[in-house]
Symmetry: C2
């Protein structure tokens, strides 16, 4: 019997998932993403949340908000999400990602990409305006603001839609978890404090 220190724990190679939350600013993507992250962590999955604002600081300084720059940003997040998910991590992405073509490019080049549309009317998002960005966009302080002077192309057939103006956060999270369970998409791997062999 090898010593505990030298013993190798074995586990199956398994793909994770990419849970891609798209929607307007203020629709609730990050709030749902964080709740989902916490829930999955408690169930002992490997989880990473890639949030648009944080990603911009770490991966995409210098990129702006033109269509070209947004597409580069989305592909970049997709690249990192793919690196993680192919090593078993459940990656939750919270990113406006307003253009359908580049979202579809990622979705259809992956077999573990779940497109989740966080769908709230722009009037609701603007009324919330938690970051004060809609006000700035309306008075011209911010240009290329999605939904105001820049387009948002709705997903045509997202796997899941969260109607975040009508549903509670928990309802949205449960809807996502039930979908994943039914689609048999949740990895069979969970963390253990004890190891396994």
């Amino acid at each position: 019997m090898p010593s505990a220190q030298k013993r190798k724990f074995q586990y199956m190679k398994q793909n994770g998932l990419i849970l891609w939350l798209t929607g307007l600013s203020g629709a609730g993507k990050t709030t749902i993403a964080q709740r989902l992250e916490n829930t999955l962590r408690k169930q002992r999955y490997l989880v990473e949340l890639l949030d648009g604002d944080i990603i911009r600081q770490n991966l995409s300084q210098g990129l702006g908000f033109t269509k070209e720059d947004r597409d580069i940003n989305v592909r970049r997040v997709g690249y990192v999400a793919n690196l993680l998910s192919r090593n078993g991590v459940i990656v939750i992405v919270s990113l406006i990602s307003p253009y359908r073509a580049v979202r579809d490019e990622l979705r259809y080049s992956s077999d573990n990409f779940v497109e989740i549309y966080v769908n709230a009317p722009i009037e609701v998002c603007e009324a919330r305006d938690i970051k004060g960005l809609y006000a700035k966009a309306r008075n011209g302080q911010i240009k290329f603001f999605t939904g105001i002077d820049d387009p948002y192309e709705e997903p045509r057939n997202p796997q899941i839609t969260c109607y975040s103006a009508k549903e509670t956060i928990d309802e949205s999270v449960v809807k996502i978890l039930i979908w994943l369970e039914k689609a048999n998409q949740l990895p069979q791997l969970v963390l253990s404090g004890q190891g396994c062999f």
Copy 2:
């Protein structure tokens, strides 16, 4: 007994490693990195190779080769390497990364960062000139070329140095593996085709 489909495989959460290969263009970083990647994969570790040229396409389009842009690039690769390694992956980075300060910033902010200096004299690298880049740098077609008109700051105390002008590739790879083994740095997790429970 749950069905095989529903059964969850358990494994320990364990940090991976960041094996950061720095050195001049042509010193042999990518060659050593690829051999190391293959060796570790055969030993059933989770491994990802982040290679400078590929990273530039996927994460850093638009960045140039000024000190500022190089530092951004290095930090970006460090960010992705950290995301992967904290989920158990052994990340091999092959990147000139010529500036000491930003390498040290990554090294000393992580407890699983191994700095590996792939050390070959510039005369040897230039004589090899596999990509023809030194010739272009000499005749001015390329600017900011490390070692020619841009600095390379040698690591002061790398954990490992591969003298790639004197050692074979296999000797360098074995040196790295022995160091990792002695430092008890190799994760205890390996992949299994059979799962474990």
